[in-house]
């Protein structure tokens, strides 16, 4: 790598079910906040990477081009990256290529999503990710891949719904301390268990909400970063891989593509024992069981062992491995691409010791953010250090 890459600023908007701001306006707000926190102006930015998930939410094709103004991308080398739910973490990975390669000294990375325009429900957009000949005629909904995966995961390792529900309780509880959160709440395992079944075993409170929102970070070379701040956060490892869309041919109990992405990032960051070396993790949690599933793929828990860590409190903010101290997608909300970027922002604030009431108890020096998506086939991973 030619340059070590630093994160020097972060920003985000409120996450809500429906926002007044247009996609460009949301992008502007998050971008402006990230620039302000870095002490930079747009003229200081050399390239822009934008992230937004399905165009079908907005009903607007070529959304990357539309968003350009609000993301500060006019007249600059701009790239839109897109790997479904994995987009939020893939956006700074795209920025990493820009800066690590030596091509640019600064790069703005912005992720935006408005899911609210689509009716009757944003879920409808996901119908078209399924195979149009063999799967859609069966009445598919995106929830099926989650409920089928969750059921297989429970079966393979003998995990109980109650254990999985403890993740929703933790994350929604953590989100109470997040000022942008949509669904922060103190709930119990019984609340999750008694919430209405949507696609059993998935119940209402196992799921993150549809949301609108935006988030952004500014990346810079070491030389630029040291002029700007005493507290750069280093983006020391990035990884991403995808599996086939033949998802029914896959071992649904274990996300091998996440493991591959994780090892790619760990190798780059010089991490050999992730469970020992990672202090905090913003693991992708669109559903509560996904946090556990991904912790195992990320090598932060043995296969089938993440549920016990959640139940034992290891993943609480005051635990040995805090997971989703932000409140995650389950609590802060899930504007797809922006949700993954929110995780990058949270690790940035945590590693700088700036997270206020959300600050984890342990002295966190190394953090991880991960996202996942498409037809349950992509893993995107970033390792960050203070």
């Amino acid at each position: 790598m030619k340059n070590r890459v630093a994160i020097v600023g972060a920003g985000m908007t409120l996450f809500r079910r429906r926002m007044l701001e247009s996609p460009k306006e949301l992008s502007f707000e998050a971008t402006r906040m990230a620039l302000d926190s870095a002490g930079l102006e747009l003229k200081d930015i050399q390239s822009v990477v934008s992230g937004s998930a399905p165009d079908a939410f907005d009903g607007m094709h070529m959304k990357g081009e539309y968003l350009l103004d609000g993301m500060g991308g006019i007249g600059k080398p701009n790239q839109r990256v897109y790997v479904g739910g994995g987009t939020g973490v893939f956006t700074p990975i795209g920025g990493f290529w820009n800066v690590a390669s030596g091509m640019y000294d600064t790069c703005l990375c912005v992720a935006e999503e408005k899911m609210s325009p689509l009716h009757p429900h944003p879920q409808y957009a996901f119908w078209s990710i399924f195979d149009q000949i063999l799967e859609r005629p069966l009445g598919t909904t995106l929830l099926w891949i989650f409920s089928l995966e969750m059921r297989r995961y429970m079966h393979k390792y003998g995990i109980k719904e109650e254990e999985i529900a403890s993740v929703a309780v933790k994350n929604k509880g953590n989100a109470v301390d997040h000022p942008c959160a949509q669904l922060g709440a103190k709930i119990t395992v019984d609340d999750v268990m008694n919430s209405e079944p949507i696609c059993w075993p998935v119940k209402r409170l196992d799921v993150s909400p549809p949301s609108d929102g935006a988030a952004a970070v500014v990346l810079a070379t070491e030389k630029v970063a040291k002029k700007l701040t005493d507290q750069p956060v280093w983006l020391d490892g990035v990884g991403w891989t995808l599996d086939s869309t033949h998802w029914t041919n896959r071992d649904l109990a274990y996300p091998e593509y996440v493991e591959k992405a994780a090892w790619m990032a760990y190798k780059m960051a010089g991490i050999k024992k992730p469970r020992k070396e990672i202090d905090i993790a913003e693991v992708y949690d669109p559903f509560d069981y996904k946090e556990l599933h991904h912790m195992e793929g990320l090598q932060l828990a043995g296969k089938g062992e993440a549920a016990k860590m959640a139940v034992d409190g290891v993943t609480q903010r005051d635990g040995d491995l805090p997971v989703c101290p932000s409140g995650g997608l389950l609590g802060v909300g899930n504007p797809i691409a922006a949700a993954g970027m929110m995780k990058i922002c949270e690790v940035f604030w945590q590693l700088r010791g700036e997270a206020g009431k959300r600050q984890v108890k342990k002295d966190a020096r190394t953090g991880l953010a991960q996202a996942w998506g498409d037809l349950m086939q992509v893993g995107t991973v970033a390792v960050m250090r203070s």
Partner: protein
């Protein structure tokens, strides 16, 4: 509450369902009604033709010896053309299942859809397809249950995945 100790205000304005009801904000409604006509491809066209005859066909890669279903004309692992068509059985095992109370557009259904990944007999283990289950109480479905395809009559079949109505349990064999 703080986002970061250095940031004290959080941009954005929420629109609540009440705001919408009261007409507080302008919105513009548009319905997009395109129509697509998909060619099914070389492998899946044959697969559909076999379904019309009440049979399930797979493709074999002689290099990795996997029997692939849904069939494909190339092996994505060996990255070479697959070699031959193989008839497989219309029986299999439930790999995983779910009870869906919502439809495609996330609206609540009156009767839940039973859905499963079924690993088909005769294909390489773990080669599942997505399909529905029937003739079973939701509470009786189990991972590992043996199932068999229930076909539409030959006059009703049209070369579609729905030529199989659903899979039903057949008990231990």
């Amino acid at each position: 509450m703080i986002l970061s100790q250095k940031i004290t205000s959080y941009p954005g304005h929420e629109i609540t369902p009440e705001d919408v009801k009261e007409g507080k904000y302008l919105d513009v409604v548009y319905k997009f009604e395109p129509k697509y006509s998909w060619a099914a491809g070389v492998a899946i066209s044959r697969f559909l033709a076999e379904l019309k005859e009440g049979r399930i066909i797979a493709r074999k890669c002689m290099n990795c010896e996997r029997i692939l279903v849904p069939p494909r004309m190339y092996c994505e692992q060996c990255f070479r053309p697959t070699d031959e068509w193989v008839q497989i059985k219309d029986t299999g095992t439930i790999n995983t299942y779910s009870i869906s109370h919502v439809g495609t557009d996330a609206r609540r259904l009156k009767t839940p859809i039973l859905v499963a990944v079924v690993d088909l007999d005769g294909a390489t283990p773990g080669m599942g397809i997505l399909h529905n289950l029937g003739e079973v109480e939701p509470s009786e479905i189990k991972v590992g249950m043996k199932v068999k395809a229930v076909w539409k009559s030959s006059s009703e079949r049209q070369g579609a995945i729905t030529d199989i109505r659903y899979f039903r349990p057949i008990g231990e064999e």
